[in-house]
Amino acid sequence: MIQAILVFNNHGKPRLVRFYQRFPEEIQQQIVRETFHLVLKRDDNICNFLEGGSLIGGSDYKLIYRHYATLYFVFCVDSSESELGILDLIQVFVETLDKCFENVCELDLIFHMDKVHYILQEVVMGGMVLETNMNEIVAQIEAQNRLEKSESGGQ
């Protein structure tokens, strides 16, 4: 199970916060902050796994993250997920974003947080991996965008 998905930039500003377990808002912010400090300390050439420990859940949980340009993508997962699999999943997610936004950059995430959520919803649902095939994900996103467009056209 995936416990949380956090995206924040190099300064720790949250760009996407998705918890699959209930935490009050203050705690969520605190977790984002602490996670940011944890990953910030790490060089880019060291491993992408971090034993979160006290952060979320217990010792069964791990932080798996990737750093792209100005953004950190952090997944907090338990031992039922394959570590390398989640790394691939982050890659799939980011590539999907890239396809949907056409050369995605941080600004896209800033101004279209809702869209990013919708894309994520096609990849992970309720903490479980829903789809890993990028073409399928993009197809579903586009179909929903079309539906939305047709609705606004009819107004």
Binding site: E25, M125, L130, N133
Partner: protein, 1142 residues
């Protein structure tokens, strides 16, 4: 209307949308909070408008603010409004907001049930999808219960997009509403073979999550997964399945053996590192589960270790990390294979990546007696080098862990260990002072031989206490002073210069230590004092003894002034004592004996679980009232006058035992006795033989005979290093000696075969410890229970999902389906009196209707026998292939309880005399090979079915196989046949049960045959055994409890016909008689007064049967009332037979 619309859209134009909000926040960096609160005010205005587009826009902005940490739960109702918008665009916004902020505590969440149900059944797949996604984040137990059925339907939706989402969300539903697991499971299983890979992957995902928590329930799916593993090409699915197998193999080693080959193939063939890694992981799990060192498995281990080495040596840090992780798993069972790569591990300790260093530390667990010192030495250098405190603390705990693991198994020299601990106290700012202290205490207490050395080290530590506790930064480490003070005090007889230590402990500086440490100081000062007194008095040095007393009298007041209560109290107590001693000393009275008597006896270590393991003494009921609870007499008075009230009461409440004076005295004595045996009670009288009993104990241990050529206190060089050197020399000497001894032997061997041992590998067993160490084991209470139950966490949310999935579904387990209320309830008036609780009263009504329909249906299909309707209960019974070991034994092997457990005698609660053992299993048929006994059970859920349990006993020496049971259907009874039985291990007996009975008012007979092949040394023969199943009317009854008021109502209703019997010549006690009726005829006692009892039971088709049983002098009369006269008279006839045997 149109105007309003226009107005709405104009309004929208002026509203901020999400982008404007974000831009605004970015432009107000200085007063962000103020700007946002302004925006929230605007949003509140927008939410008040009727226009759904405006509302949706507002909710969208709120979702953004939620991410920034603002609580938006106040808008929960507005979010629901947006969720229920008809347009997908808005609905999606609503569900997103809900998924971000709804949780179980959100009170309006119950309002969403119908909206979600509507969306789930929406014709647009995206409406459904968005609802499923949202629900997956905020599903509550209520929502799960109400929507489970709808979601289950969606699992068979035509669109794979919906199917996969529905399958995934089921896991969340199971978690919140575990009852849904069994009904939904068959369909979930179906989805494992869904044509769409996404759906398949989702199903695998869900089952893996389930199986991870309760693997044993999913073992039966192993063949299916095995097929998937060998056929699937989707790496995601493969990884999940392989992970799942990793969880299953520990439960079923045979599975592991089968797995090794395909997994090895995958390891060789795959190019995906993630898959390779998981394969290696599972192979490791398999090997662990097999654990026996079979020769062909060592190849697999070699393969794993070799692949892992490649991972660890990879430049990719991720692979390195995972390689180490997996390596640590191999370590547990095959430490030798890992030790070959020790170089690699130690190299990783120097890695710049902390995660990798930590993983490498884990691998160090695989130490042995041989390399412990070397490894710890290496770690100590890392401790010195490490700059971050977290990593250093980690190192520290690791050192302590590997040294103390499995009862200090690997430590050959405890002096070395103590010096390591002392060296660790020099660490700057560690948090683990208490850990070191605990180790010092533990070692000193349990290793008697080391005490002299430990005391010397500790007194040195106390002497240099100012170094340890100087700066506030080192406050964590001052915990070791606690241990040092205690050890010096407790084992003061080993001190070289007790006076010096005493003075060190009384320094004014001590008062700056934390309170609990000072308290230990004060207490142990007295122990030291006692020891010194003893010493001085023996030497007849009166003045020295008085000097010591004087010292105490002078220094103790500084503790009396302490702000810490504990310190203050102890100090004043002791000060008074010492003053008293001083007076006695002035009179030249010898006091040492009595002062040291204060600390006589030895404290033994107690196992951490000891308290829990104390068994509850027989006859002690911890939940019983000690005193009669406050009587709620008023409420008792208000109860409807039950017929036999006072009799029941007398039996229900155990009388409070009246403890008389004698009893109290006895208990007091017992308590005293217990205290005397308890080491933690300080005895009231000094028992001379107990004082420091360990003195002889130490003698018989040969204390360290190491020739310490180097003086141990060389400044500059850490003590422990010298020990390493010494140890090496010692081992070398030992080895030489051994070699000499073995030489002759080996010479002889060498002539035969060339042996590996000649290469001289030193195994653990070769190393004898430097000291013969007698480790005192921890105390456990007598007859402690060996169970390890206490490891389970009762609050684990996944425990609720520990459900047997192979049992057939019962009707009661069906998922709740929303239905319109039944208008025809009045059609079955006799049901008004159903003697059940209110809640259940609806069910039988439905049943009755269903039953009637079914009967009609059946009349049409009389000819069409043998066609099993789907919901009918199938029953496969495994019969173990009975081995012809011993006739007697094999008989015992299948006790009746092995099959359907015999109905417990629920009502025989009044324990008057032991009941004779009763079994409802009666002989069915028997020949020289096999014996069949059977029992018939009805169940309320199947109104025309009974279950026949047959126990087969192999009475011969032959293997019996290919068993087949068949029954000639009669008009009134037939077998419900299964559609095929699955293959179980051993030889399956295809049972085709249970019979369907149409008329239950009369007893039925059913003829049948059991055919089987008997195989023994002479060959095999085909055998047949005919039997006659006898269904008595009793077998259609189901024990049903009934309350006395409902019972009375039932009798008053007048719908029942009456009949009675009388049996003479009964000698059995009434209690046993009732128990017998309960057991054999499946009645339950409603009420009982003296020798009169009312009883109740119900048939599987809902007939009520009421009995009034009266016992006379030598006879019993039974009056019965039943809704069916034929059933009643048949029942009473059967009962007569039973009673006649009493």
């Amino acid at each position: 209307m149109a105007l309003k619309m226009v107005k709405g859209s104009i309004d929208r134009m002026f509203d901020k949308n999400l982008q404007d909000l974000v831009r605004g926040i970015r432009n107000h960096k200085e007063d962000e909070a103020k700007y946002i609160s302004q925006c929230i005010d605007e949003i509140k205005q927008e939410l008040k408008q009727d226009n759904i587009a405006v509302k949706a826009n507002a909710v969208c902005k709120l979702t953004y603010l939620q991410m920034l940490g603002y609580d938006i739960s106040w808008a929960a109702f507005n979010i629901i409004e947006v969720m229920s918008a008809s347009k997908f665009t808005f609905k999606r916004i609503g569900y997103l907001a809900a998924s971000q902020c709804f949780h179980e505590g959100t009170d309006v969440i119950m309002l969403t049930t119908n909206q979600i149900r509507k969306d789930l059944s929406s014709p647009s797949q995206y409406d459904t999808g968005v609802a499923l996604t949202g629900l997956s984040c905020f599903v509550t137990p209520d929502l799960a219960r109400d929507l489970a059925n709808d979601i289950m339907t969606l699992m068979s939706h035509t669109k794979p997009y919906i199917r996969k989402k529905a399958v995934l969300i089921m896991y969340k539903v199971f978690l919140k509403y575990p009852e849904s697991l069994r009904p939904a499971f068959p369909r979930l299983k179906e989805k494992l073979e869904d044509p769409d890979p996404g759906v398949q992957s989702a199903a695998v995902n869900v089952i893996c999550e389930l199986a991870r928590r309760n693997p044993k329930n999913y073992l039966s799916l192993a063949p299916l997964f095995f097929k998937l593993m060998t056929s699937s090409t989707n790496n995601w699915v493969l990884i999940k399945i392989i992970k799942l197998f990793g969880a299953l193999t520990p439960l079923e080693p045979r599975l592991g053996k089968k797995l090794i080959e395909p997994l090895t193939n995958l390891i060789h063939s795959t190019s995906a590192m993630s898959l390779l890694y998981e394969c290696v992981n599972t192979v490791i799990a398999v090997l662990i589960s097999l654990s026996s060192g079979m020769p062909n498995h060592s190849a697999s281990i070699q393969l794993c270790v070799q692949k892992l080495r490649i991972l660890i040596e990879d430049s990719d840090q991720n692979l390195k990390y995972l390689g180490l992780l997996a390596m640590s798993k191999i370590l547990r069972t095959h430490p030798k294979s890992v030790q070959a790569h020790k170089d690699l591990v130690l190299q990783c300790l120097d890695d710049k990546d902390e995660s990798i260093r930590l993983r490498a530390l884990d691998l160090l667990y695989g130490v042995s007696k041989k390399n412990l010192m070397e490894i710890v030495k290496k770690l100590m250098t890392h401790v010195d080098k490490a700059e971050g405190t977290t990593y250093r603390d980690e190192l520290l705990t690791k050192i302590i862990d590997i040294c103390s693991q499995s009862n200090y198994q690997h430590i050959t020299n405890f002096e070395w260990y103590i010096s390591i601990l002392v060296e660790l106290t020099r660490l700057e700012g560690t948090r683990h002072g208490h850990l070191i202290a605990a180790q010092m205490l533990d070692v000193a207490i349990r290793v008697k031989a080391i005490r002299r050395f430990a005391v010397a080290q500790m007194s040195a530590l106390l002497d240099s206490a100012h170094l340890v506790a100087s700066s506030p930064q080192r406050s964590g480490i001052c915990e070791v002073l606690y241990a040092a003070a205690w050890i010096c005090g407790e084992f003061s007889e080993h001190l070289q210069e007790p006076q010096q230590t005493l003075e060190a402990m009384l320094r004014p500086k001590v008062t700056t230590l934390p309170g609990h440490i000072q308290a230990v100081y004060v207490q142990n000062v007295v122990k030291l004092y006692a020891a010194i007194l003893q010493q001085k008095e023996q030497a007849a040095d009166v003045s020295a003894a008085q000097e010591v007393t004087q010292l105490l009298v002078e220094r103790l007041p500084q503790f009396v002034q302490s702000a810490d209560l504990e310190v203050q109290e102890r100090a004043s107590c002791i000060l008074q004592l010492v003053k008293h001693v001083q007076k006695l000393q002035a009179k030249d009275v010898p006091v040492a004996e009595e002062v040291s008597a204060l600390f006589a006896g030895e404290l033994n270590p107690v196992a951490p679980k000891a308290q829990k393991k104390v068994p509850v003494p027989e006859g002690l009921d911890l939940d019983a009232w000690i005193n009669e609870p406050l009587s709620d007499s008023e409420s008792e008075d208000e109860k409807p006058k039950a017929m036999f009230q006072d009799e029941e009461q007398r039996h229900a409440k155990p009388r409070a035992p009246e403890a008389d004076e004698q009893e109290l005295a006895r208990r007091r004595e017992a308590r005293r006795q217990e205290q005397a045996n308890n080491p933690f009670y300080i005895k009231s009288s000094p028992s001379p033989q107990k004082r420091y009993q360990d003195a002889p104990g130490v003698e018989h241990i040969p204390v360290v005979q190491i020739d310490l050529s180097v003086p141990l206190k060389v400044p500059g060089m850490p003590l422990s290093d010298q020990y390493v050197k010494l140890e090496e020399e010692r081992r070398h000497r030992q080895r030489l000696e051994k070699d000499k001894r073995k030489k002759k032997k080996r010479e002889r061997e060498r002539r035969g075969t060339r042996r590996h041992s000649s290469l001289h590998t030193e195994s653990d067993e070769d190393i004898a410890p430097a000291q013969r160490v007698d480790i005192v084991t921890e105390e456990m209470p007598e007859n402690a229970l060996p169970s390890d139950e206490d490891d389970k966490d009762p609050n684990d949310p996944y425990r609720a999902l520990d459900i047997d999935l192979d049992k057939p579904l019962a009707d009661s387990e069906k998922l709740p389906v929303q239905k319109h209320r039944n208008a025809e309830t009045s059609k079955s008036p006799e049901k008004e009196d159903v003697p059940l609780m209110e809640k259940k009263s609806k069910k039988p009504k439905k049943k009755e209707k269903k039953h009637k329909e079914k009967e009609r249906e059946k009349k049409k299909k009389v000819e069409k026998v043998e066609k099993p309707s789907k919901h009918k209960k199938k029953k496969h019974k495994k019969d173990k292939e009975e081995r012809p070991k011993d006739k007697r034994k094999s008989k015992k092997k299948v006790p009746p309880t092995d099959e359907e457990a015999a109905e417990p005698v629920e009502n025989g609660t009044l324990d008057e005399e032991p009941l004779p053992p009763m079994s409802s299993y009666t002989l069915l048929a028997e020949n020289s090979y096999i014996k069949m006994t059977y029992d018939v059970q009805g169940s309320l859920q199947k109104d025309s079915q009974v279950t026949v349990s047959v126990v087969l006993e192999n009475q011969s020496d032959s293997f019996l196989k290919s068993m087949e049971l068949n029954v000639l259907d009669s008009l009134n009874a037939r077998l419900a046949r299964p559609e095929g039985s699955s293959v179980h291990d051993g030889v399956p007996v295809p049972f085709q049960l249970p019979p369907t009975i149409q008329s239950i008012v009369m007893a039925q007979k059913l003829k049948g045959t059991l055919s089987f092949i008997a195989k023994n040394d002479e060959g095999s023969t085909h055998e047949k055994l005919d039997f006659k199943l006898h269904f008595t009317c009793t077998s259609y009854l189901v024990t049903t409890p009934c309350y006395s008021d409902a019972f009375a109502k039932l009798l008053e209703s007048g719908d029942l016909s009456m009949s009675s019997i009388k049996v003479d010549g009964i000698s059995m006690s009434f209690h046993n008689l009732l128990a017998k009726i309960c057991f054999h005829h499946r009645f339950s006692v409603v009420e009982r007064v003296d020798s009169c009892a009312s009883m109740y039971s119900r048939s599987i088709q809902g007939h009520h049967v009421c009995l009034l049983v009266k016992k006379g002098e030598k006879s019993v009369s039974v009056d019965g009332k039943c809704s069916d006269p034929t059933l009643l008279s048949n029942l009473l006839e059967e009962m007569k037979e039973t009673l006649a045997t009493c």
